[in-house]
Symmetry: C2
Subunit: 109 residues, 2 copies
DNA sequence: ACCGGTAGATAGTAACACTGAATAGCCCGG
DNA sequence: CCGGGCTATTCAGTGTTACTATCTACCGGT
């Protein structure tokens, strides 16, 4: 899309993935598809997997390997308690930033 | 504040500074003060100067050195045409992301 | 002579998303 | 039976960004 959205996604993409996982557990390929459905059309697959590795290492998700009918086994990620806390914190931080930017957009001071 | 807001500011801080400059020309120290007034209490001065160097190199601002009554000379930045275009693009990108996140926050799919 | 407020610059670090490619399993058509 | 296409994951290398910490510089007051 452009370098602006790329930079904006830093700090939000992880939250977006957590929010998707909050709806229901999912595996990487599925999450990528979900992102495309939700308008994030050009987020590379590799990027999503990198996020998943990160949130797993942070202990925000539980992981379960599930055999697939078609293709290699899936790694199904589900949000755990720490992940839910992190997601709440994400929404708070987003709200903070969003509110201040809204002010700036409408007339500044 | 926390690492979350730090990461979210990547990609938005530059836009925020451009938005402040759109209100009226300003110099670094003044911009930092403006950020604090607007709730961005813990953005380091060094960070702001780095942004200013960047937007100057990108050619988004015009710069004028003005002697100060108190202290070393000020570098006054004013948004030029390219800067205004960039700012508009920033608001578009922000709107895009903001809208999608709003959807996710309210019920997801 | 010193300190606090004003004003700007910079080197080094860590986090993050992207690119591009590799690997691997499975199914179907020719 | 074999090669292309879909599913699914992984990884090395790159560039951008904000933060920390520190340094320089000018001025006024004590």
């Amino acid at each position: 899309m452009g370098r602006q959205i790329t930079e904006m996604l830093k700090g939000t993409l992880e939250g977006i993935v957590l929010a998707i996982l909050a709806l229901r557990p999912a595996y990487g390929y599925e999450i990528t598809a979900g992102l495309r459905e939700r308008g994030f059309a050009d987020i590379a697959e590799g990027t999503v997997y990198a996020v998943l590795v990160r949130i797993e290492q942070k202990g925000l998700v539980d992981v379960q390997k599930v055999p697939s009918e078609k293709g290699p086994p899936r790694k199904v990620y589900s949000l755990n308690v720490r992940g839910k806390d992190e997601l709440e914190e994400f929404w708070r931080t987003w709200g903070f930033l969003s509110e201040r930017l809204e002010h700036l957009h409408q007339g500044g001071k």
